[in-house]
């Protein structure tokens, strides 16, 4: 291509140093929050591990809803696939925790492949209805296949071996929590690369204008299906973590309620932001835990009030609110045209 209008020296493609610093700071914050949870709430580590497992589920949902614009209320299908696969493998003698996480990821990815193949045939409301149908079918299948899943009693009686052959999964949940935190950080880093890659950019372009993306030479279906598989792997790891930490897998892990709650957490934190997914999960589950202890009968009312307040005050979620406030706190940097 010819040089046409050189008004200033042309630099090489921009450096990503600013992004690296910001993402590094974000990771430090996640680790600091994780360490604070470990030291400040030693009696609630089981709950915090559950928060991490659900955070993985919400991150996986964000990949589909926030980055690709795929409507889904059936994400627990992928979470449950990972949880049941890890539980069943553990019952059959595969007890090494890292292997169980890998099994959960593969099961979730396979479930994502199937779910994506079905859901991507439709759009909008029809897609949403399909996702609900899929999670209900998966729930019913898990209930009926009680010989394998334990049905309504749940899958129990398995225990993973010590992590790296050394660290036992103790009664206080310390090992499970630290294991979960490490897993979350690794997954988060990997997802940062995914969403910043040309593939991730393509997904965001599809969300905004799929027709335009097609006319630019990209094939939309395989791109979205690939994201479904990645999302399934992440959700599956969350399910496997939940199975390892609680050593029981119930029907609630593949329920419509969990799917809907995960979407609420994502909306609360902010769509299309990995940080938003984490913030939404922590706020929702923390709020739920505290409020349900204060008022066991009407806590859902308060959760509903919180949601209404967030949607009205910060339509982009709490993560979006932070992004909106940041320029005001810094002052305008002159980049605006």
């Amino acid at each position: 291509m010819q040089v046409i209008a050189k008004s200033r020296p042309v630099a090489s493609p921009p450096k990503a140093a600013g992004h690296l610093v910001r993402d590094g700071a974000g990771l430090v914050l996640i680790l600091a929050a994780g360490a604070a949870g470990y030291w400040l709430f030693p009696d609630n580590l089981a709950l915090l591990t559950r928060v991490i497992a659900i955070a993985l589920l919400v991150l996986s949902l964000d990949l589909l809803v926030g980055y690709c614009g795929v409507a889904s209320l059936g994400q627990a299908t992928l979470f449950g696939a990972g949880a049941y696969a890890a539980g069943m493998a553990c019952l059959r003698g595969v007890t090494e925790p890292m292997t169980l996480i890998a099994i959960g990821a593969v099961a979730g990815a396979c479930a994502g492949l199937v779910m994506g193949t079905i859901m991507l045939r439709a759009h909008g409301l029809a897609q949403l209805v399909l996702s609900i149908a899929i999670v209900q079918l998966a729930h019913e299948a898990a209930n009926k296949a009680s010989a394998y899943t334990g049905g309504s009693d749940g899958l129990a009686g398995f225990s993973p071996s010590p992590l790296f052959g050394t660290f036992e999964f103790d009664l206080w949940g310390r090992t499970a929590y630290l294991f979960g935190l490490g897993l979350l950080v690794l997954v988060f880093i990997a997802l940062k690369f995914v969403v910043a890659s040309p593939f991730g950019v393509l997904c965001r372009g599809i969300k905004e204008d799929p027709v335009r993306i097609r006319s630019m030479g990209a094939f939309v279906f395989p791109v979205l299906l690939k994201m479904f598989v990645i999302s399934g792997a992440v959700a599956g790891m969350g399910g496997a973590l939940a199975a390892i930490s609680t050593q029981v897998v119930g029907l609630d892990s593949v329920s419509f309620e969990l799917s809907a709650n995960s979407l609420v957490m994502l909306v609360l934190g902010g769509l299309g932001s990995l940080y938003g997914a984490l913030i939404g999960t922590v706020i929702f589950m923390g709020f739920e835990h505290v409020v349900s202890a204060i008022n066991p009968f009407h806590w859902m009312t308060m959760v509903g009030a919180l949601l209404i307040a967030v949607v009205l005050v910060a339509p982009g979620g709490l993560g979006g609110l932070v992004s909106r406030l940041r320029p005001r706190l810094r002052g305008r940097n002159g980049e605006q045209p």
Binding site: M1, V3, M216
Partner: protein, 238 residues
């Protein structure tokens, strides 16, 4: 991808049951430039959209270097060598300039976006800005650069100067003229600014109600004020 010839034979296309283009036929040689003129609503944008596979085709052939691509989907046509810069620009508003350019790379390496910055240095200054933060001229530069990065053999430009300030128009047309002079792309330009369109291309065709009513050289049209007034509706050309 080197420039390819474009041959349209008896193309009829439209939207749903409405036929907009009827039996349109013309040829542009490899590396050639053609300006398409006509009043509003005469089918110019529909013609480019039809070449890209974005409308319903009722008949006809679209041949790229002799190969009929009319039955291909829009993404396959883009991979085959057609590239459209739409009138609406269609930049991704939530992506940065740089991310918009990444989206247009097809299978080329990331480093190729330096070519876009060479062509439009303004985009380099704006590379971290989101699409919605750009001015109209910058959006047009971005849309054009994004399409060109995919190295189409045939570039379709739909009213690139619409709504732009004269100084930006000049800058953009200078960039396009120099790009065209390399002969790396066959270029079809739909444009309402007749002077710019005639300066850009040697060959011109005029569309009237979905049909070609005149084809010839820019010079021939420039010298026939009656023709210009009849089909394009402007009083005079300078």
């Amino acid at each position: 991808m080197p420039a390819e010839s474009l041959e349209i034979r008896e193309l009829s296309a439209g939207y749903g049951p409405t036929v907009v283009l009827e039996n349109v036929s013309f040829t542009v040689p490899a590396g050639g430039r053609l300006s398409i003129l006509g009043r509003n609503g005469m089918g110019k944008t529909t013609l480019l959209s039809s070449l890209m596979g974005l409308t319903k085709r009722y008949g006809g052939e679209i041949r790229l270097d002799g190969t009929d691509v009319a039955s291909l989907k829009s993404c396959d046509r883009a991979m085959r060598g057609l590239g459209l810069v739409p009138q609406t620009r269609d930049i991704f508003r939530s992506l940065t300039v740089e991310e918009n350019l990444f989206a247009g790379l097809k299978n080329r390496p990331r480093s190729a976006i330096a070519e876009a910055y060479e062509m439009f240095p303004r985009l380099h200054e704006r590379r971290r800005n989101l699409g919605w933060q750009l001015s109209g001229g910058e959006q047009q530069m971005l849309s054009t650069a994004r399409t060109i990065l995919g190295r189409p053999s045939v570039l379709l430009l739909d009213e690139p100067l619409e709504g732009l300030a004269p100084v930006i128009c000049d800058e953009l047309m200078a960039a396009l003229t120099r790009l065209a002079s390399t002969g790396e792309m066959t270029i079809l330009l739909v444009e309402q600014r007749i002077e710019s369109a005639l300066d850009f291309a040697d060959a011109v065709l005029i569309l009237e109600r979905g049909r070609i009513v005149w084809q010839g050289t820019s010079e021939a049209l420039r010298s026939d004020q009656d023709l210009v007034e009849q089909y394009i509706g402007v009083g005079s050309l300078h």
